[in-house]
Amino acid sequence: MYPKEFQYHRATSFTDLFDFLEKHEESRILAGGQSLIPMMKLRIASPRFLIDIRHMSDLKLIKYEEGKLKVGSMVTHSELIESQFVNEKFPLLSQAASSIGDLQVRTLGTVGGSICHADPSADYLPALVVLRAELKIRNRKGTRIVPVMDFIKGALTTDLDHSEVLEEVLIPSYKGRSMYEKFSIRKADFSIANVAAILDTLNSKIRDVRIAVGSQEEGAVELFELEQALNDKEFSLEALEAAAKEAVGKLNPLDDIQGSPDYRRHLIVTLIVRMTDDLYHSGRKNYD
């Protein structure tokens, strides 16, 4: 299988990139290509022009500035996982990245490509939601910052205009322990249920818990009601189960051959209960 004919161009600068995108309406940015190329081979997507941004070194930086981790959009999943700083200070991000595809996919696939593709089951999405990530988007006029929840508009739909490029992902530091869990049949599959959680404790009470679930019709959803039910309280397994079931009952999980909404809700509740229990109890060990 091979795609329809297209013309390939390598971007040498932002100006070059915007010139090209504006000139050719049927053009797409090519990042790692690990989502776009399979779609093109199946002819689900047939852009007539591809502009490769893999050689724009400005987009490959990982830095920590002004209290925020800044990840360039063309950082690959492998590069993120191999960053000692990210592993130590933002382990949730590298945990999510490690769940993506397989080693080969992670070599080429990029953080920015995954976010802009916005598959609702994407591993980064629930993690970025609980991390309160913001996205820095560049266009010809300058840059704009968009919170991740506002950027993802739905399945495969984002706030990115045709002649814009995602430049950086900005993530503030967080306190407490974090965890990302994904349920799938085979490791490299898209997730059937995935959950990201951050939890801190003060004395014996839960503090600043954040829980987001992926693989929903809308992409990733944060469970604010559940967080409110858990915050400032001691841990109670019964209360957690009840609150999780109620919150998850209101969700719209994807409905496809991998699982029905009811099955997915069941998985999500199980993951949330296990993860919160684990985060609370092992987090508390650090205070003893």
Partner: protein, 156 residues
């Protein structure tokens, strides 16, 4: 059409190719190296795995034009002439090949893994190989072979 130069196993191959030509087809049909295989064409099976600038990629998921100016290692580049590489010997010794279709991808992955990661456990070997499918062996002998290759590589 674009003129591309790709260095494969130390030799530069040149071709005037369609932009939509996949790297796997460049390697097989322009460079005429048939070791890399197309198993599924949807990017799952990993039979097309090669090293691109030293890192593993599925060559059916990247266009030749993207690899212009890059260096590629295929199974043919693991050893010279009639020699067998450490990985190849380990696969033979551990009966890790039946039909051989997945083998070139598995060997390239093994070559990469034993150099990149210190002291791989069997679980880690399985983990890093989950982008490479094998229908024949049931994987156990392949894991044995990678473990064996790792041991022999460390001995050198």
């Amino acid at each position: 059409m674009t003129e591309v130069h790709i260095k494969i196993n130390g030799t530069t191959y040149q071709g005037n190719v369609e932009d939509r030509l996949l790297l796997v087809h460049f390697i097989r049909d322009v460079a005429w190296l048939k070791g890399v295989h197309i198993g599924c064409d949807t990017g799952h099976c990993g039979a097309c795995t090669v090293l691109l600038n030293g890192k593993p990629v599925k060559s059916c998921q990247i266009f030749a034009v993207q690899a212009d100016g890059a260096e590629v290692l295929t199974v043919e580049g693991l050893a010279k002439g009639n020699e067998t590489s450490i990985e190849q010997k380990a696969f033979i010794d551990n009966f890790a090949i039946q039909c051989g279709y997945c083998t070139s991808g598995m060997l390239v992955m093994a070559h990469y893994m034993i150099r990149k990661y210190p002291q791989l456990t069997r679980d880690q070997i399985r983990d890093y190989l989950h982008g490479n499918y094998c229908i024949c062996t049931g994987y156990a002998q392949i894991v044995d072979a990678v473990e064996d290759a790792q041991k022999n590589y460390r001995k050198q």
